[in-house]
């Protein structure tokens, strides 16, 4: 029997980026906030100090900071004709766990979606016709708000993170050296770009030669010491090359730990409980209000925590799982197309081009998470898609994230995977090759969704989450197109002797690492028939439940998801503070 705890104003389920943002915002508004985190406390000096952080085996390959699948996994399949089986080993995506969540081990890539990305349905329909947004069983939808509405919150996140970069569009004025395609920014980046290492420099020169407009990747890796508006300090990046999949030992990568927690943890109206797994959101008899959450701690004790507001701020897959287990919202049915929870699950369509040089020493190990040159000519609707047979696109970037040798030795086309020829190719090419990342969008499709598995159960006896997902020809054609453009840049690079291109082909596989950009399943929309949450991330049915994260995205844009989910959290917090608290109830009439 669960022990009933004293009630609290707000309970946060999960304590990564969105949990930290909502905790800070709502504590500053005077509310008593409790965060429940299933993992452990983690912080820089104890958990990823520079004395032992540069350890590829432990963090990348032994998953030390990641979700342990022995305790929690999901089932996976490509389509409804298959039986879903458990994801037994992390591969395609690397889920986070513990305080800071996946934001501990990200690269710090801070992108805004394009204004047209928020209108993916109406924009593409208007320009290319109805068939363009309905082909391949696409279920693309518009966001219920515009880029302009959330721009102030993107700006807020930039200032908290100390984002480095060069504006390309400052209040409507196109700026040289920045991304000319981006939506209008209200202010310049808080910090200047990182210095470019050799690979990104060669990429930028080749791209410019082809008429593109390369620019430095916007990111949360500090180009200089920075103090954010919360008074928290970050240090200058030292380009150690251990960023994504690792915690930063140097306070140089924006994370909940390095930007918000030192401020939030000292607030007397905030508390955090670790090793506490929320099992269910409890509701009133009429199902219209949440009464709180039931959780179990690592000592095996069960508690009921009453709360006025329940905020689901775990990773997208956990948030959707909890909605389904708690009976909040109607589950999506791919046959009828009805129901909303689990609908429009999407991902990212990744491709790559390796470029090899005979006599250039590139020193790939001098890196930072998003130390890169980028071109955005082939992202979103920045180019004419007429006759191409797909919508969407992606950015192309020469990212110098590091030269970790188990993961990042590139060998030319035709090299065997082992033996003397492999060894010689590895010795020859490690210092003399680079990778162009082709980071593509993923539209939503009728057959891609999340629901509860009928067979497999988790350690608490609950049905596992089931993921049914595959790429379609929209993504495969898009990937072939943008990888082709990256190959042109690769061939144009000074001194390039050969390239090796890989676009997205065949079905999605859980085996090779692609990216931890899972989206959708708890999408935002303009009415309860097409979405789980309204524009303020408030659930349509249970008005004191708010659902954070990339689950809100009706489809995934060709950019990394973090800045947008942070902006949506700030947007939600502003409306909770300014409207909801005065008059609790639905903020948008369905």
């Amino acid at each position: 029997m669960a022990t009933r705890l004293p009630p609290i104003d707000v309970v946060l389920v999960g304590f990564g980026w969105t949990g930290a943002i909502m905790g800070q915002q709502l504590c500053d508004a005077g509310l008593d906030v409790l965060a429940l985190e299933r993992g452990v406390w983690r912080d820089t000096p104890t958990d990823f100090a520079p004395t032992f952080a540069q350890d590829e085996l432990r963090y990348m390959w032994r998953h030390h900071l990641f979700q342990n699948l022995a305790n929690d996994t999901l089932t996976i399949r490509n389509n409804t004709n298959q039986q879903a089986l458990p994801m037994r080993r992390l591969g395609s995506f690397l889920l986070g766990n513990g305080v800071g969540g996946a934001g501990v081990h990200w690269n710090g890539q801070i992108w805004r979606f394009l204004p047209s990305d928020f209108k993916a349905y109406s924009h593409n329909r208007e320009r290319y016709g109805n068939a363009a947004v309905k082909a391949y069983d696409m279920t693309v939808q518009d966001y219920p708000f515009t880029y302009e509405e959330i721009e102030p919150y993107y700006d807020m996140f930039d200032k908290v993170c100390g984002t480095t970069g060069k504006a390309g569009n400052l209040r409507g004025q196109i700026q040289p050296g920045g991304n000319p395609f981006e939506g209008a920014r209200s202010s310049e980046y808080p910090n200047p770009p990182l210095p470019l290492t050799y690979g990104p420099t060669l990429f930028a020169e080749a791209a410019a030669k082809l008429g593109h407009k390369p620019f430095p990747h916007p990111n949360g890796n500090m180009s200089r010491p920075y103090t954010n508006p919360l008074g928290v300090q970050l240090g200058q990046c030292t380009y150690c090359g251990f960023c994504e999949k690792f915690g930063c030992g140097n306070y140089s990568k924006a994370s909940a730990q390095t930007t918000i927690l030192p401020y939030l943890m000292t607030k007397s109206n905030f508390s955090l409980r670790t090793e506490c797994q929320v099992l269910k959101v409890e509701k009133t008899a009429d199902g219209k209000r949440a009464t709180g959450v039931t959780y179990i701690d690592s000592a095996g004790k069960e508690f009921f925590q009453p709360a006025e507001i329940v905020i689901l701020s775990a990773y997208v897959l956990q948030n959707v799982h909890l909605l389904l287990l708690s009976g909040i919202g109607k589950p999506y049915d791919p046959k009828s197309g009805e129901g909303v929870v689990g609908k429009n699950y999407a991902y990212q369509t990744m491709g790559s081009v390796n470029v090899f040089f005979k006599d250039k020493i590139l020193n790939p190990f001098i890196g930072a998470g998003s130390l890169a040159s980028v071109v955005d000519e082939f992202n979103g609707d920045n180019f004419d898609h007429s006759g191409l047979g797909f919508i969407g696109g992606g950015y192309l970037a020469q990212m110098n994230t590091g030269g970790r040798p188990i993961e990042m030795i590139y060998t030319p086309e035709g090299t065997p995977r082992w033996g003397l020829a492999w060894k010689q190719a590895a010795a020859q090419n490690y210092l003399r090759s680079l990778n162009i990342s082709c980071h593509g969008s993923m539209m939503s499709h009728r057959g891609n969704y999340l629901d509860l598995d009928p067979t497999y159960r988790d350690g608490f006896g609950r049905p596992m989450l089931r993921m049914t997902f595959d790429f379609t020809d929209n993504e495969r054609k898009m990937s072939a197109y943008i990888v082709g453009k990256a190959a042109e840049i690769g061939r144009a690079m000074d001194g390039a002797s050969s390239i090796k291109a890989a676009s997205r082909k065949g079905s999605w596989s859980v085996v090779p690492y692609q990216t931890t950009h899972n989206t959708g399943g708890a999408i935002t929309g303009d009415n309860p028939r097409n979405s789980v949450i309204n524009k303020y991330l408030q659930n349509w049915d249970v008005s004191n439940v708010f659902v954070m994260g990339a689950g809100a995205y009706p489809q995934n844009a060709g950019y990394n998801p973090t800045a947008t989910l942070a902006a949506l959290a700030y947007h939600s917090a502003a409306v909770i503070k300014n409207q909801y608290l005065k008059n609790p109830g639905p903020l948008v009439q369905g």
């Binding site: 993992g39 820089t44 004395t51 919360l230 008074g231 040798p405």
Partner: protein, 253 residues
């Protein structure tokens, strides 16, 4: 917003590593493994506590039997043979690395989900065995020796000429080798990955002896600060290789 400043550089300087590696990391690794904690009013931090890496201990073999070593040691040297560029896998102690990994948490399937049922999956569904890595090695090596015995008239893998050894490994890789009660392709995928891990990971885990694999490719290792070199294009970084264990601040209390 509160304009209070937080200077955490001071904390970093004191970050000396002490404590029992095994116990500390087992406790901290993964959810629902440590006691529940309540944090309020302050940023929690304890002096002298760090989540230090689990270091491979020296000494004899912990996992492999002699019969298994008679397969493993020649096989890893076919995957990474000796030549003038750098050491072979066994010269870099990759077999020691494999032994310690299989005797430890990885061997036991830490971070794998191994619960049933276990129907055969599609290639896209990835690892679908009920076996932990240690069980995969233990079950597959005798099955490979059985396959070799049958195919090469009673010989053992170690007795084959290198061309024959390569052929056996290729047959495992392609799935062509039909093994009794074991999945040769699943084994090969794991084996090749583990050999690369042993060759290129930090020497604290038992392989990459003398950091020779890093020297071969030109990776300086666990360096922390390349700021001076970010803008020097095309020049070789002259830093000697360094392991986590060779770093200032390392102590084995």
């Amino acid at each position: 917003m509160d304009a209070k400043r937080f200077d955490r550089r001071g904390l970093l300087i004191g970050g000396v590593l002490v404590g029992s590696a095994g116990a500390a990391s087992a406790l901290r690794d993964g959810q629902l493994g440590a006691p529940p904690q309540n944090y309020s009013g302050t940023l929690p931090w304890k002096e002298g506590v760090a989540d230090v890496p689990p270091i491979a201990e020296p000494g004899g073999f912990r996992f492999f039997t002699d019969a298994e070593r008679a397969f493993i040691e020649p096989a890893i040297d076919r995957l990474i043979p000796p030549d003038s560029h750098g050491p072979s896998a066994s010269q870099a102690d990759v077999h020691v690395f494999l032994d310690r990994q299989l005797a430890g948490l990885f061997g036991r399937g830490d971070h794998f989900y191994l619960g049933g049922p276990w129907p055969k999956g599609t290639p896209e569904q990835g690892y679908q065995s009920r076996l932990s890595p240690a069980q995969v090695y233990r079950a597959t090596i005798p099955a490979i020796e059985g396959y070799v015995r049958e195919k090469f008239r009673g010989m053992k893998f170690i007795q084959l000429p290198v061309g024959g050894q390569d052929q056996v490994l290729k047959d495992l890789e392609s799935g062509k080798a039909a093994l009794a009660n074991a999945d040769g392709q699943l084994f090969f995928t794991m084996f090749l990955q583990n050999v690369l891990e042993g060759y290129f990971s930090d020497p604290i885990y038992g392989g990459n002896k003398d950091m020779a694999a890093w020297k071969m490719i030109g990776f300086p290792g666990a360096h922390y600060d390349y700021r001076e070199w970010a803008g020097r294009h095309g020049q070789r970084v002259p830093f000697p290789q360094v392991s986590i264990k060779g770093r200032p601040g390392w102590s084995e209390a």
